[in-house]
């Protein structure tokens, strides 16, 4: 198999003919093209785009699942849309899928494509491993969905499919860990000369923070999956068989662990706000600290209700939930100051970034109430609301990142006006999903249930509104996909620096050449491109 990549330690950009220059005519093989070129690629920008495309497709599918579940809850007296046996599986698929098949790969894809460019690196560290991570994740996700379809998710009735689910989910997690390892190693070892860690762009910093926390927390999940598999496959004595599985893996998709997946939203927002404010980011040390703090608070492997029943109501859990408010507040503060001092340009990525930041803040705020036992919010749809606020903040940030860095990756630019409208639609959709669930949570409507709530009040209206929110958001994501396909493939050519950016990725051509940069850049501040522009103006 031929891998198309650039070795990180290469001192000069490879030319198209390098690969076969020394091969004899007998051993020379034609370079792959078309589909095989994408399948065998080791180019970090292609791998990243594959991640993003698949994650957005999964997002649409999962939002449809969310809508079905919400509309099924409108009438809690009967099953109108779904079969009773499918409901628990679909809830599980929605929660696990949104995190492991949408948010995590979306950010990992953006990071794989963009972080080397932000760092002035020729490629990602271990490009073959990055490609392996993507394909393993894709295969794992496909098999996992297949296992769900065969009634094999947590609590599923088909024992063989449950075993298959455990193996596939394990593969998905390991693949994401491998991808995170490549990104973290890139940030730690392949930065341009002069780029100390405090000069790393905020998205790259948020990715190394997120990747580090995931590398320290998700192996615990892998270990539990190994236990669960062996126990379920042979004896079903230790973990409660198929019914017990959900309890041992749910910690990976609830706060505080959920923060670890969504931290890159803060990094993207800080980068985009700086660019569109046309002003150096104010209080950058506070933003670095905020992102680091968000990562530390996102280490959730210790919050395992299946093992320690009251851990979510402990004093520490409450204190950390309050602490989780700090990072988005600090980033918002720095962003507001930057916007105030700058000359803001309201581009579509900015709106997606602001929307994601506000939802992140709302999700963190919602989490403050959960540890209080007196409110009895645990086990209600309030938890689903907090999940949606945080996870869908990640989705919106990921889409914003695609629109922000897309012109650099494709060399073309979609229509900004329609994407601004879609940003507002996305924010509205998530609000419609989450706000009714927050109200219903206080009314004690149970989560992961669609029948016999025994709840009084406007339950039907609120559940219907939530369902409409899912539909609206699914349409918005479909709209983004359509506009991106049209704009990035057939749109007008994008300039090398289409947003008047401040970081290294905007110094190279759109799309970048093989090896990313014609010459290795030297960095003297956190905004190297601003330095160049100021120097050019001084010369003039």
């Amino acid at each position: 198999m031929t891998m198309q990549d650039t070795r990180p330690e290469a001192t000069s950009p490879p030319s198209a003919s390098d690969e076969h220059a020394t091969a004899s005519p007998a051993t020379r093989r034609p370079a792959p093209s078309g589909l095989s070129e994408w399948i065998t690629t080791g180019d970090h920008r292609r791998i990243g785009r594959l991640y993003v495309a698949c994650a957005l497709a999964f997002a649409v599918a999962l939002l449809v699942v969310g809508a079905l579940l919400a509309f099924e809850r409108v009438d809690d007296g009967s099953f109108d849309i779904l079969h009773a046996d499918a409901v628990a599986q679909l809830f599980s698929l929605y929660f696990l899928g949104t995190v492991f098949c949408v948010v995590a790969p979306l950010f990992l894809g953006l990071a794989t494509a963009v972080v080397p460019l932000q760092l002035g690196a020729r490629t990602i560290a271990f490009p073959r491993a990055a490609a392996l991570a993507f394909w393993s994740w894709l295969v794992g996700t496909g098999v996992m969905v297949g296992a769900y379809l065969a009634n094999g998710g947590p609590g599923g009735g088909n024992a063989i499919a449950v075993d298959l689910f455990l193996v596939a989910f394990g593969l998905v997690v390991v693949a994401l860990l491998l991808g995170s390892l490549c990104v973290a190693t890139t940030v730690l070892t392949l930065r341009a000369p002069g780029m100390s860690l405090d000069r790393v762009p905020m998205f790259a910093w948020s990715m190394v923070v997120s990747a580090s926390v995931l590398l320290l927390s998700l192996p615990v999940l892998v270990g539990e999956l190994i236990y669960l598999y062996l126990d379920h496959r042979y004896g079903r004595q230790a973990f409660g068989g198929n019914v017990g599985i959900g309890g041992y893996i749910e910690w990976a998709v609830i706060a505080p662990q959920l923060f670890a997946f969504v931290v890159p939203a803060l990094g993207f927002a800080a980068d985009a706000l700086q660019t569109f404010a046309r002003q150096r980011l104010q209080k950058p040390e506070s933003v670095l600290l905020a992102i680091g703090l968000a990562g530390v608070l996102g280490f959730g492997a210790w919050v395992q209700p299946a093992i320690y029943a009251n851990v979510r109501h402990s004093f520490l859990a409450g204190a950390l939930a309050i602490g989780a408010l700090l990072p988005p507040l600090l980033v918002l503060g720095a962003a507001a100051l930057t916007m105030k001092l700058g000359r803001p340009n309201i581009g579509a990525p900015l709106l997606w970034a602001v929307g994601a930041l506000l939802l992140y803040l709302a999700g963190a705020a919602a989490g403050v109430l959960l540890p209080f036992t007196g409110l009895e919010l645990e086990g209600t749809v309030y938890e689903a609301a907090q999940f949606n606020l945080l996870a869908l903040a990640g989705l919106l940030a990921g889409i914003g990142g695609l629109l922000y860095w897309g012109p650099k990756l494709w060399g073309r630019k979609p229509s900004d006006v329609l994407l601004r409208l879609l940003a507002l639609g996305g924010l509205g959709g998530v609000t419609l999903i989450a706000v009714p669930d927050i109200i219903l949570g206080f009314m004690k409507q149970p989560v992961e249930s669609v029948s016999d709530f025994g709840v009084d009040g406007p339950v039907e209206l609120l559940n219907a509104l939530s369902g409409i929110g899912y539909v609206l958001l699914a349409l918005v994501v479909l709209g983004v996909i359509a506009l991106s396909l049209q704009g990035f493939l057939r749109g007008p050519a994008a300039a090398d620096d289409p947003w008047d950016g401040a970081t290294l990725e905007w110094t190279t051509t759109s799309p970048p050449p093989p090896g990313n940069f014609a010459e290795s850049p030297v960095v003297t501040s956190a905004q190297p491109l601003v330095d160049i522009k100021l120097a050019a103006r001084a010369v003039e």
Partner: protein, 194 residues
């Protein structure tokens, strides 16, 4: 036209492999820490004593498990010897040390197989599922270390390392130190505390 920054001097070769190995080891430590934590939690839930936790009639061979620990300690010494030898440009000694790593790995496999055979632990019990999962995961990690060692031996013999560039050997040594530390924890929890 692209904006250009002043060209930089040739950068030093990045220590990617060592950094990635360190991150992978940290992840591996968390993997085993999590598995041991679940083991301890379930053991506590079962009564907190080895009599209540392990099935009746099961005797884990103490000598074999202690031998495994001693072998792993020896493997760590071999790994570090390989690093020092390569730093001295002594490729032969480095290759011998890394080859011994593989031999030690096989010895650990052998001892673990002996324990599996002699202990009579059944996988379809609560204890058995956890026992085989935990020790099997360690064997998997050990296999990765042995594969790395074989690659390093061939690269060493092929002249790919020098006294100034032997990152692969350093990364291998780090990984084997990780394996030794992890096995010490597994040994203490599974074979000593029981």
């Amino acid at each position: 036209m692209s904006l250009a920054l002043p060209p930089a001097p040739a950068p030093p070769r990045p220590r990617m492999l060592f950094a990635a190995t360190a991150l992978a080891c940290a992840a591996g430590v968390m993997l085993f820490a999590g598995m041991l934590a679940v083991w301890i939690a379930l053991r506590d839930a079962a009564g907190g004593t080895s009599a209540a936790w392990s099935p009746k009639g099961i005797v884990l061979p103490g000598v074999a498990s202690t031998m495994m620990l001693i072998i792993m300690g020896g493997a760590s010494v071999m790994a570090q010897w390989a690093v020092y030898a390569m730093a001295d440009e002594n490729r032969r000694d480095a290759a011998v040390a890394v080859t011994l790593l593989v031999v030690f790995g096989i010895a650990v496999f052998n001892a673990q197989a002996y324990i599996y055979q002699q202990s009579g632990v059944a996988v379809n019990t609560r204890y058995g599922a956890l026992f085989f999962a935990l020790t099997g995961t360690f064997l998997l990690a050990l296999t990765a270390g042995m594969v790395m060692a074989v690659i390093v031996v061939f690269r060493s013999l092929g002249g790919r390392y020098s006294s100034k560039r032997h990152e692969g050997v350093s990364a291998l040594a780090l990984y084997w130190h990780f394996l030794t530390v992890v096995f010490a924890a597994v040994w203490f929890v599974v074979y000593v505390v029981k």
